[in-house]
Amino acid sequence: MVVEQRGLEPAPAQERPHRRRRLGLVGLLVLLAVASVLSLVVGARSLTPAEVWQGLFGDPGGDQRLTEITLIVQTLRVPRTVLALVAGLALGVAGALIQGHTRNPIADTGLLGVNSGASFAVVLSVYLFGLQNPVQYMWFAFLGAAAAGVVVFGLSSLGRGAGNPLTLALAGQGVTVFLAAMTTAVALGDKQTLDVLRFWNAGSVQGVGWDVIVVAAIFVAVGLVLALVNLPVLNLFNLGDDVARGLGVNIAAGRTVGVVAVTLLAGAATAACGPIAFLGLMVAHIARWLTGPDYRWLVPYAGLLGAAVLLLGDIAGRLVVRPAELQAGIVIALIGAPFFAVLVWLGKFRQA
């Protein structure tokens, strides 16, 4: 309605891409809904949608079979579906943001040190305290991701050169390199730690309890708000720092908000699922291909794509090696990466 009142403005040409993008968003939401239902239905034991409905809302009564279904749906399927949605959303948004802020097409969500920080904390906690249960060492993963993020951000914002994209990327890389080496050093000395590390590295949304998911979701929610606030500024950043400064943008503040958002999003997702770095990189490029360079569209697309890909990856992982499961992180890289490479070869992507 607002459009009509604008009168003679060149509305038709402007509106068509907007409508297409809006349609695309709706399409992605539908895809997500379908994937979520699939995620509840598919598994080592297949359930019909009716059974899932029963398991979600019905009263099992004394029926043995129904009780079992309720148990499967409520304690296994629902948590991993929710976590895949939350973590996928977070990783997608974080991937798009970090590429925007570093202006580097191969920047991934692990760049700011959160992945290696989480891994190192996990390894250290297993080595020092002998933790065996993922529920216990996940809290350390949170701490490690946060600590590494703070260190990288602190180091790259010292002095007046602060906010330089290249400094940020390289400082992140330096810290990542260091922490990864420390992780290896600890794991090489202790078989039990190595055993935990190899499963942690695979990246999976399975077997995570509600307590962890809720905490992760809170961090992700805060991160998403910061990310949304950051989007208009990010558009200006991509005109170049000088132009942005000329337009009155506070570079350091904008960069800070963006980096904090990435750290929160990627850190929470990584702590809950393990390092799934390639997902964010991949969906950021695909989102840019679909929407163009406007970050106000690109970032929501990347988030929804991330959630969809992680969900589908998780579902595929349950199907390929039945009755066992393949971790979602591995599936995404094995199936997603070749697909992505083909898109690259076809020339679908452009530099930020």
Partner: protein, 351 residues
């Protein structure tokens, strides 16, 4: 008026010409001297110490019989492998970062490391792999896997020439696949095999013999000579393809050849020392800052790579506890050093 100290004189010898930059030459010479010094110290330290002068005398063929045996037969191969792998990694990294125009690019992105790692882990952990490993030997098989993956990336990138952006994105995807395969194999494997595989994955200079040294040495020398000759054509390419074409550089051909050299050099390094991580990424970035050069310097990156690798090996053997693999030590030293240089540059800018 042009400020005199800002100007650097040109030097011309026959058909070749370059700019005389005293600071660059000075740092490069210092790096070379340091590398030689660490090389000698690395040889002198072992189960028993040989004095440095004796080491140098022996290296130049004037030493005593006993020293000559210990140095030439026992310690030299290890040090030389470190030197070769370091130089190859440094130059390969500098080439990759120049061609991709991306500071985060490294030969890891070219798929070499990922391919070699996946192959090695397959051989160590999977049942059928043991047969291949027995027939070829682990290093040879890993090298084959790495080179095949590298060439796969190379040809997937090829589409009327090589484009830096396409190169890194395809390289990152292929590396992601290889890494996922590695992780998968590790998840499925027996934990004892995992420990063995993990040890190989970080790279090491242990138990080297002369037979392994000679091939890698000659291949490296040949590749480095090719790179250094073509490097004259690389310089204008930093200004972009159009400028390079205007200056008469056939940038497409130059890029293709140099990238192939980068792939092969990374392969040489993997065959010599295993997939030592991070040296190739860190060495060009650190030398850029030491040399105050706007682009990754080739020769100095190679020297710094060697310095980092031999130095880390020396530290791992002499100072650090429980025999850490050299790949871990390079990262523990290289990562923080890079961060230090970045922070120092930032703080200086404030002053």
């Amino acid at each position: 008026m042009i400020n005199a100290p800002e100007m650097h004189r040109g030097v011309r010898v026959g058909g070749w010409s370059w700019v005389w930059r005293p600071w660059v030459v000075l740092v490069t010479v210092v790096l070379a001297a340091l590398t030689f010094l660490i090389f000698c110290v690395s040889i002198s330290i072992g189960d028993f110490t040989i004095e440095l002068p004796a080491v140098v005398r022996t290296l130049f063929g004037q030493g005593e019989r006993v020293d000559e045996f210990v140095i030439m037969d026992l310690r030299m191969p290890r040090a030389l492998v470190g030197l070769i792998a370091g130089v190859s990694l440094g130059i390969s990294g500098a080439l990759t970062q120049s061609i991709a125009r991306n500071a985060l690019a490294s030969p890891d992105v070219l798929g070499i490391t990922g391919g070699a790692s996946a192959t090695a882990v397959f051989i160590v952990t999977a049942g059928g792999g043991t047969a291949i490993g027995g027939a070829m030997g682990l290093p040879a098989a890993a090298l084959t896997g790495g080179l095949l993956t590298g060439l796969l990336v190379y040809f997937m990138t090829w589409k009327k020439g090589i484009d830096g952006f396409r190169l890194i994105l395809i390289g990152v995807s292929v590396s992601a696949v290889m890494q996922a395969l590695t992780t998968w194999l590790l998840v499925l494997a027996d934990i004892r095999d995992v420990a063995r595989a993990q040890r190989w994955l970080v790279g090491s200079l242990d138990s080297r013999r002369w037979t392994e040294v000679w091939t890698t040495l000659w291949v490296t020398i040949a590749l480095v000579v090719v790179v250094m000759v073509i490097a004259f054509q690389l310089q204008p390419m930093h200004f972009g393809d159009d400028v390079a074409a205007g200056l008469g550089v056939r940038y497409s051909a130059v890029r293709a050849v140099l990238l192939l050299c980068a792939v092969l050099l990374a392969g040489v390094a993997v065959s010599a020392a295993g997939p030592v991580p991070f040296v190739a990424l860190v060495a060009p970035q650190i030398t850029m800052r030491l040399l105050r050069s706007p682009v990754p310097p080739l020769l100095a990156s190679g020297l710094f790579g060697a310095l980092l690798l031999i130095g880390s090996d020396l530290l791992a053997r002499s100072v650090l506890p429980n025999d850490l693999p050299v790949g871990v030590v390079t990262a523990i030293i290289g990562g923080p050093f890079l961060v230090y240089l970045l922070v120092r540059a930032n703080v200086k800018r404030a002053a």
